[in-house]
Every structure is written in structure tokens, then in C-alpha cells.
Symmetry: C2
Subunit: 184 residues, 2 copies
DNA sequence: CTGGTTATAGTATCTAGTACTAAAAAAAGG
DNA sequence: CCTTTTTTTAGTACTAGATACTATAACCAG
């Protein structure tokens, strides 16, 4: 029944890789009670690269990820902005944005897109959100592309009144009224 | 004038490390036109770890970072939750949350904390945000600790009316009224 | 021109592997 | 039960990218 045992061991190996990818062949060998050579054969068969390569890849991915978060002054992709008037932003709902259970997007992501857009359309050096009135009309799911449209409806002193409406492919899913305040 | 040259070279080395930390001693040696040994002496003096250690650290940081994002079902730290009644959440404003220019927190982070908390206090399997009424009272800066308190004020059918008030060390910085809708 | 700093050279050693060969052990088939 | 095949273990040579250490060369200044 070694044929079964091997498959099971390789499955265990794969699981281990996902959970803790920092183990050397030696440690893995001890963990699975086989020799180092067996581990290496298994890695070869399964196409799992060596520890250093694994770590390297993680570090590389990390770099790009950190960058994309750091440069995340704006949530969503600004498609078109007419400063002081209106703007359009696009955002795709990814795996990280949804609840595992329901695959429904966490509310604050939809909010973040709208809030970022509202901020982007203001023709002022620095501004903060003052008031927001928000309505989530229907839940948004993974994979959906959200298009948010912002329109400045009124400016009074240093206060900007902005409407943002967000649609998915077929209908309006969210709307918000912001009052943004420009500083200084 | 070798004394000056050395300092300059070490400064160059540091800059290189920041920009592209994936270079081996050998590549660095070629880049700075010195021998490998010189590079190693410099690294020793400057306390720069070897390539593999550098990569490892990046990968480790990445993992914890990814985890904290992935497990980010809840934004902020839940200190105390009385299901169906009230809850308290703590969040520290970090570098990534603020605008570079002003060091003021982006509005959606404060919102996210409140929204997550509102969701957490509901005694229902799944719920989404329906409506939110938000007021940012004063801008929040890097390093501040935000304490959000949520209170369920009314339940009508599948609708939960929740107040969230967020304070920093000294005053109230944000308040929100949520209507959350439990699904099914 | 001599002394001290800075740079280079070279060797032994380490880790976590690859690549390869050989042999032992286990399981399956007949 | 014996043979064949599969699986596992053992062992050697070699690699990259280092550390640690010693020795020597180059330079520059007083």
C-alpha cells in the first residue's frame, strides 16, 4: 500500500508548503518521518522549488504588493477626472475585499472607492471628509466591476458637496453624498 | 582622500540596498568597482545583513502583512463585544493610513474601523451595511489611537440601528449612524 | 620614509540545496 | 515463495552566497 502512502505524503507536503513555507528539506524530512532524499524526490515530482527560491519569490511578490498598497492614495482606478466638476473611477472586487462566507464585498471597500474619488475631483490642495451620507442599495460580489461617478453639486466657502453613484454592470449598487472640507 | 571615498562608497551602498535589495556581494562589487572583500567589510561596518537574510526578512514581513490583510475581516482590534448590544474597538493610525503630505488619516480608514465594529456587534450570521450617516469632526493624525464605541440603539425586523462614536486620546473625532441589514 | 588606514587576496567553513549513482527495502504480481 | 517493479534511503561531488579569519598590497599624510 506504499502507492497510497506516497500520495498522502505528497499531499501533506503540499499542505505544509502553504501553511509554513519556511521549512528546509531536513525539517520536512523529520516532520514526515522520511529521509531528505524522499522529500527531494517529492519536491521534484510536485514541482516545488527549493527553500531559497520559495523565499525569494515571496520577497519579490511582497515588494510589488507593498508598493501597490503604499501608492494607494487612491482606492480604485481614476478613469476620468474633470477637476472641480466630476470624475469616474473603476474598481474590481477582488478576493481580499469580500467576506469568505458570503463572497459579498465588505462595505468599507465600496465606501473607500467613492471617498477617494470624491477627494480626487476637488480642486484644492488638501481636503478631508467632513460628512457622508451613504446608502448601500444591493450587495456587491466578487469579480464585479464597480464604476463610481462623482459630481460636485455645490461649493460653499471651503465646503464641497459631492454626489457619488456607484454601479456594477447592470444597476446602481451604492450612492453617497459627501461634504468635503478643504483645509487652510 | 581615501577617507572620503570610503564614506561616499558606503553611502552609495546604503542607497543601493534601499532601491534594490536583491544584489549579491559580487554584483555590488562590480557596481561600485571594488572587490568583494571591500563590500563585505562595508556591510559589516554598516550592519547590513547578507542577501539571504535580507530576502528572508522581507518574506517574513510580507507574510505577516498579507496575513493581517487577509484576516482583515475586522479593521481595528476588537477590545470588547457584547453581542447584540455594544462593542469597543481600538485602532492605531499607522504610516500607511495617512496622506504623505499632511500626515492626516484618509477618511476611509476611520470609516472602516467603525463599519467593522458595527458589523461585529450584530448578533446575526451575515449582515451588510445598508445606510450610513457619517460626520468627521476633526482630522486624525499618524500615531493617534482611535477608540470606537458602538451601540445598538434599535432593532426593527432585520434592520439594526447602530451608533458608533470614535475618540482619540482627548476628544471625539468621528461619529456614525449605521443601519445594518441582516441577510436571509 | 615610516606608520596607519584602506583595499585586496586567499583559505577554510557553512547552509541548503542540485545532480547523480547505487543499494536496500517494500509491495505487487505471478 | 520468488521475482519484478516501485519506493525509499544512502552517499558523493558540486554549487551559490555567504562568514570568519589571516596576510599582504596600496596609498596617503605627517
Amino acid at each position: 500500500m506504499m502507492r497510497v502512502k506516497k500520495k498522502i505524503r505528497q499531499q501533506l507536503l503540499l499542505n505544509n508548503m502553504k501553511e509554513k513555507p519556511f521549512l528546509t528539506d531536513e525539517e520536512l524530512a523529520k516532520l514526515l518521518h522520511v529521509s531528505i532524499q524522499t522529500i527531494r524526490l517529492d519536491r521534484l515530482e510536485l514541482g516545488i522549488p527549493e527553500l531559497r527560491e520559495r523565499i525569494k519569490k515571496m520577497a519579490e511578490n511582497a515588494q510589488t504588493k507593498v508598493k501597490s498598497i503604499a501608492s494607494g492614495d487612491v482606492v480604485g482606478e481614476l478613469i476620468d477626472v474633470e477637476l472641480g466638476k466630476s470624475g469616474i473611477s473603476l474598481m474590481k472586487i477582488t478576493e481580499e475585499m469580500v467576506f469568505e462566507k458570503t463572497q459579498v464585498a465588505r462595505g468599507h471597500h465600496v465606501f473607500s472607492q467613492a471617498n477617494s474619488l470624491a477627494l480626487a475631483v476637488i480642486d484644492a490642495p488638501t481636503a478631508v471628509t467632513g460628512v457622508a451620507n451613504i446608502k448601500y442599495k444591493i450587495p456587491v460580489h466578487i469579480g464585479e466591476k464597480l464604476v463610481a461617478k462623482a459630481e460636485i453639486v455645490k461649493i460653499r466657502g471651503n465646503k464641497y458637496f459631492i454626489w457619488v453613484k456607484t454601479r456594477n454592470e447592470t444597476q446602481e449598487v451604492f450612492r453617497a453624498k459627501f461634504i468635503m472640507v478643504s483645509l487652510e
